[in-house]
Amino acid sequence: MNDTPADQVRLPRETKGKRPRFFDDPAIDQMMTFMLELTTEVAVLRERMDTVERLLEERGSVTRAAIEAYQPSAAVEAERNAWREAYLKRIYRMHPPV
């Protein structure tokens, strides 16, 4: 039994077990984590901007509360998904094998 109050729980962010290395230089494994996190953060910013633009178009003004409350329609979600797919394709452009 753990007696930490439920409102003070901080879930573990690290995984128990040995982390595999895929590259000869472990720095590249670390860089891949940075890269993928950054890829995600750029997409988050872009989506926030998209919400702001849509709110401005619809209402002519925007507040942080309105951004939080914004619920994308299925059509908006489909547009965003198409953007996410194309965005990843642009970033992860593999060189031809040598």
Binding site: M1, P5, A6, V9, L11, M32, V44, Y92
Partner: protein, 398 residues
């Protein structure tokens, strides 16, 4: 069993999860990174293997290659290294992207689950055993790279890992073409059973390693007359699953037990199922669990387990692909389980070899009923495991 509609709606524990705008955006993006790895990069990897690497192995006299030779060759390739790195990081990010919202929701989630465990408005139940010893294959590593896996308890009556696994799983499958909805494996098996054994009417059903019952609940709807049970060694996922089932009006009975040795009487169940289960347990435990299935199954009963296809059922390349998870997804028993013939495992547990089976069945959400009928008539093959089909093995008990 499906309970009578209650007057007062039972709150949904999943509605307490309220990610911020940016957290939702992050989860949405992570689903696409996961899809990039498991669909797009996986396809590119196979094409590269077939067009360039396999011919090279051939020239070097190393073909036909077994999966270990393929793995060794691939580990030197850029494309495999990047595929692996993207896949590994995406897996971690699925869980990381939902944890903050789970932390905020936790007090309310714990409160709701606690209340529903007392009231059981749908007529299900939750039976926990705090003295149950957790097997080492559960606690040694965080399986699937889920920090805390299914069993860690961070507060009294904790449900956090249930929420992390459930919402992380939604991010994980968010853009997967063959994981259309939670529980689709249970749905597909139940549908196949209905067609294969049209007169089969199980009185009691048991799901092993049920976690939060995602693949258990479809049996409540498919066999509404049956009493439906799910067992797992991990309390947080059981509490969470029980709360979900009660919200959905499904009377499912969750109990904290080790499938190697349960407290149910002999011949108690007509149908025993599991999904994504055996490859996570030690091989010694697998043998004990199948023997326990034999004990629990009533005469005329049926056992169907959805699992990864065994080594002998697929090509060396596919074996190389599947076994990636062993070291890279903290699933140490994966390769050892896949090396076994499931029919031999059933035979060793006392099942009649002539009444044991292994086959691929179609994923009902993507295959459709009309094509399923043609599959049943032997006119169409099932798609491969994870690509529109599911591999199952099991036995009929005479």
């Amino acid at each position: 069993m499906v309970a009578q509609a209650s007057e007062i709606p039972v709150p949904n524990i999943e509605e307490l999860f309220r990610p911020t705008h940016d957290e939702r955006a992050r989860q949405g993006m992570v689903s696409f990174i996961r899809k990039l790895a498991i669909i797009d990069m996986r396809r590119a990897l196979k094409e590269d293997y077939e067009s360039r690497i396999e011919p090279r192995l051939d020239r070097e006299g190393r073909k036909p290659a077994d999966w270990q030779t393929i793995e060794k060759a691939m580990q030197q390739e850029h494309i495999f290294r990047f595929y692996s790195a993207v896949r590994y990081n995406a897996q971690e990010m699925c869980y990381l992207s939902v944890q903050p919202a789970v932390e905020r929701a936790l007090p309310a989630m714990v409160g709701l689950a606690r209340d529903l465990a007392v009231r059981n408005p749908a007529g299900g139940s939750l039976r926990l055993n705090p003295d149950l010893e957790l097997p080492k294959y559960i606690t040694a590593l965080d399986v699937h790279l889920t920090p805390g896996w299914v069993h860690s308890e961070h507060t009294a009556d904790d449900v956090a890992q249930g929420a992390v696994v459930s919402f992380g799983g939604k991010v994980f499958t968010g853009q997967h073409p063959y994981r259309k909805r939670p529980g689709v494996v249970g749905e597909s098996i139940a549908y196949w059973i209905g067609k294969k054994y049209p007169n089969f009417a199980p009185r009691r059903i048991l799901d092993l390693g049920t976690t939060s019952g995602k693949n258990l609940l479809p049996y409540c709807t498919a066999f509404p007359q049956a009493e439906v049970h799910g067992i797992d060694v991990a309390a947080p996922v059981l509490r969470y699953g029980h709360a979900l089932a009660e919200h959905e009006g499904l009377a499912a009975h969750f109990s904290q037990q080790n499938a190697e040795q349960t407290d149910f009487p002999d011949g108690h169940f007509d149908l025993i199922v599991s999904s994504f289960f055996f490859h996570e347990v030690a091989l010694k435990a697998t043998r004990k669990i199948l023997a326990e299935c034999k004990r629990l199954l009533a005469p005329g009963g049926l056992m169907v387990h959805m699992e990864l296809p065994d080594e002998a059922s697929v090509s060396p390349y596919e074996n190389f692909f599947w076994n990636w998870d062993t070291h890279n997804n903290n699933e140490p028993w994966y390769t050892a389980f896949r090396a076994e013939d499931p029919l031999a495992l059933c035979a060793a547990a006392g099942f009649d070899a002539a009444r044991s089976f292994k086959l691929h069945i179609p994923d009902i959400a993507t295959f459709g009923e009309e094509r399923h009928a043609r599959f049943m008539r032997g006119e169409l093959p099932s798609p491969a495991h994870g690509a529109g089909g599911w591999f199952v093995f099991g036995a009929e008990r005479g």
